[in-house]
Amino acid sequence: MWAWLASAIILGVVFVTCAIFYVWLYVQQIQNGYRLSKIYEESELLSTVQRKLTIEWSRFRDPQRLGEIGQNQFSLAPPRPDQKVVMR
């Protein structure tokens, strides 16, 4: 009788433990799902920022723009003939 009761209690404890573990796993899965979605959104945002920065970088390299900046901000101009040195 006592042996039967003990094994029933052990089985019950194991069952309850497994059930709690299962629920804990499920909760973890849900939480990770939220975390993953958040990270995914952040990654999308960073990807967007990266693409916008790529455009900005390309815009800075525009020779037309560089020419305008050189002329207007730094008063640069093509060299006069007497400023040229022929390398031979």
């Binding site: 899965q29 849900i30 799902g33 939220y34 993953l36 979605s37 958040k38 995914y40 959104e41 990654s43 999308e44 990807s47 967007t48 693409r51 916008k52 790529t54 455009i55 390309s58 815009r59 390299r61 525009d62 020779p63 037309q64 020419g67 003939p81 007497d82 040229k84 040195v85 022929v86 390398m87 031979r88």
Partner: protein, 659 residues
């Protein structure tokens, strides 16, 4: 006894209650099981569908349109996420109030926004491609019925540089012009549909076993065009076009060996970031006139006639031809030269650009052979370049050529060519006589930038023998030398070869050549001794000056002077001396001091002295007045070494007036 009776009645009540209780319990359980069976088995799919509809949402992982790069890997066209505003009119509670809010954010009239909101209860776009600031402000409104959609906008960071080549896409991301159109299938991305869970609060939840797919980019395209060369070409072309108040202008720069187009543009330029509306005056600017419009090439076409005549051994380099003193009647029509000439060698025909000589040679070659060469050089047919709207040019069928057509085609009239065809045909001569199609795209790249397909220009046919090409090249080199029509084309320190052209323009109303409209052309290559680049410059309807040698040749020179050092081509002109006030690196300090002020320094340099001597020894038979030579009216004797008696064609002597 009474007790027994009582117990009996209690027992019977007890048992009836017990039975009733059991029945109720069992009935309840049966009802529960029945309901569960109904929900789980009979109506399973219905309830699963409802649950999915509540939890699962479908969204698309963006696939960015492929990037377009120049040959150095600079980004010419790029897609960036941008949000668009749409509305469901039926869900908007107060359209006029919402329109007023949106009007402030979007900087658009409230009335037009309200009209959109009230026009339909269904989906309607309010504004596509909002700025980040606008999207944030609209998000803050939290107005029911207003929604933001993720879309992608195409940006062109180099603006007008190469705008007509790159082309543009419409608001839905479909290629409309240029490379964007011709490579639309390659560039256009295919979004990946993905299912995702959302909870009651609309928070996203990823429970799939695999990681969420990342936004991918479609295949890209690498052009042969170089942004720096394109910019230089555009800068110089615009300068000339504005100086001469031209109607339009075009330039093409091509690599001789690979037939890769390094620059290609037509003025006025086009900024693909500003999509032209229909009936907009700037709509035509998006058109790539270099491939889609034909013009009469004028005297530049003489080099192809000469190639045909030399290749067929119908003339020789030092043969002489009589130019009738500047005016003659050929095939019943009067043909004139700009300046009167007498006898000219074949080299001088190209150098001084005689129409009469060209007409005579064309009649000599004949329409059948000349027509075949015209076709082999690539005129009258599509070059096969990967650009939309290419025009094959205007070349009449040979059978319909009258003698006057043949004669005028000799000097570039009665024929229409595109700037690209002309450039590629000159590349045939500069490259030794073989034809290869022009190339604008060198590689198709995957999302990571690795080449998945390489495109090359394969030489498909030999048009002229190498010896002929060398002879014509030598003739073209004379054009840029003292006395030639293209002296303004030679960049300092480099040798150049080419041909000028000044073509009359047909008046569309009178169907006759207009007396005041010209097309100025210069096409040639640099360096003359080892051609690297072919450059063609066309200026339509210049004012003030008309000659190709005056209007177009300086553009050629300026482009070559900037591009050759960029490509690492060292100055090579034999006997070239820097201009007097340019210093040389190996000059002594005393010489450097002198350099800025006196002309003496440069000629005192070893080599420079001999160069000047050589220059001073040159015969003064041809006076140089700027770019247009004035040749003495006297008949010039052929050079002694050319054995004129042996090789003279004597067209004029034998059958004077017949041609």
């Amino acid at each position: 006894m009474e007790r027994r009776e009582q117990r009996k009645s209690l027992n019977s009540r007890y048992w009836s209650c017990r039975v009733l209780f059991h029945f109720l319990v069992i009935a309840s359980l049966c009802a529960i099981v029945g309901k569960a069976f109904r929900l789980q088995v009979i109506e399973h799919s219905f309830w699963v569908g409802r649950a999915d509809a509540c939890l699962n949402t479908k969204f698309t992982v963006p696939a960015y349109r492929g990037t377009i790069y120049d040959r150095q890997g600079r980004v010419l066209s790029y897609s960036v996420p941008q949000r668009s505003l749409y509305a469901f009119g039926a869900q908007i509670q107060n359209p006029s109030k919402t329109a007023a809010f949106l009007s402030r954010i979007l900087d658009e009239p409230a009335r037009s926004i309200e009209k959109k909101l009230t026009s339909s209860g269904h989906f309607v776009w309010i504004k596509r491609h909002l700025s980040d600031q606008q999207a944030l402000e609209i998000e803050k409104l939290k107005e029911p019925g207003l929604n933001l959609a993720d879309e992608y906008k195409r940006f062109y960071p180099y603006r007008e540089v190469g705008g007509q080549v790159v082309g543009f896409v419409n608001i839905d991301g479909v290629g409309m012009e240029g490379i964007e159109k011709s490579f639309d299938d390659v560039l256009r991305g295919k979004p990946i549909p993905v299912c995702e869970l959302r909870d009651g609060g609309h928070k996203r939840l990823w429970l799939n076993s695999s990681a969420p797919p990342e936004p991918a980019e479609s295949c890209g395209v690498k052009l042969t065009m170089d942004t720096f060369i394109e910019y230089v070409a555009e800068y110089e072309l615009e300068k000339a076009a504005q100086k001469y108040k031209a109607a339009e202008a075009e330039v093409v720069v091509m690599d001789v060996d690979t037939r890769e187009v390094l620059a290609m543009t037509s003025w006025p330029f086009f900024d693909p970031n500003m999509i032209p509306e229909k009936k907009d005056s700037k709509e035509g600017f998006a058109r790539n006139h270099v491939v889609s419009d034909a013009f009469e090439p004028g005297s530049t076409f003489k080099v192809f006639l000469m190639s045909a005549a030399l290749d067929q051994s119908m003339v020789r380099e030092h043969d002489r031809i009589y130019c009738e003193g500047g005016k003659c009647l050929l095939a019943g029509h009067s043909i004139k030269d700009v300046h009167p000439y007498g006898w000219l060698t074949m080299q001088e025909v190209i150098k001084y650009s005689s129409n009469i000589a060209a007409a005579k040679i064309a009649l000599r070659v004949g329409s059948e052979k000349y027509g075949r060469y015209i076709h082999d050089f690539g005129f009258g047919s599509l070059s096969g370049i990967d650009l939309p709207g290419e025009f094959r040019g205007l070349v009449r069928p040979q059978k319909r050529w009258r003698p006057i057509d043949l004669a005028t085609t000799g000097f570039g009239q009665s024929i229409g060519v595109t700037a690209l065809q002309l450039t590629n045909a000159v590349a045939v001569i500069a490259g030794g006589g073989e034809y290869g199609p022009p190339l604008i795209v060198s590689n198709v790249l995957d999302a990571e930038g690795k080449s998945v397909r390489q495109l090359q220009s394969i030489k498909t046919r030999r048009v002229i023998q190498k010896r002929t090409a060398d002879q014509v090249r030598a003739m073209m080199a004379l054009v840029t030398q003292e006395g030639g029509t293209g002296v303004n084309a030679a960049p300092e320190g480099y040798t150049a070869a080419g041909k000028t052209g000044t073509a009359q323009v047909m008046d569309k109303t009178t169907k006759r050549y207009a007396s005041n409209k010209y097309t100025s052309v210069f096409t040639g290559y640099v360096p003359a001794e080892q051609p690297k680049l072919v450059i063609t410059v066309i200026v339509h309807e210049p004012q003030g000056a008309i000659y190709g040698g005056v209007v177009a040749a300086p553009v050629f020179r300026n482009i070559a002077a900037k591009v050759l050092p960029y490509l690492g081509v060292m100055p090579s002109a034999p006997n070239s001396t820097p201009s007097p006030n340019i210093r040389t690196a190996n000059a002594s300090s005393a010489q450097i001091k002198q350099a800025s002020g006196s002309e003496k320094t440069a000629v005192e340099k070893p080599g420079a002295k001999s160069a000047q001597k050589t220059a001073s020894k040159k015969p003064a038979s041809v006076k140089n007045s700027g770019a247009v030579p004035i040749v003495a009216k006297k008949i010039q004797p052929a050079p002694k070494h050319a054995e004129p008696e042996k090789y003279s064609l004597k067209i004029g002597e034998r059958e004077a007036g017949l041609y």
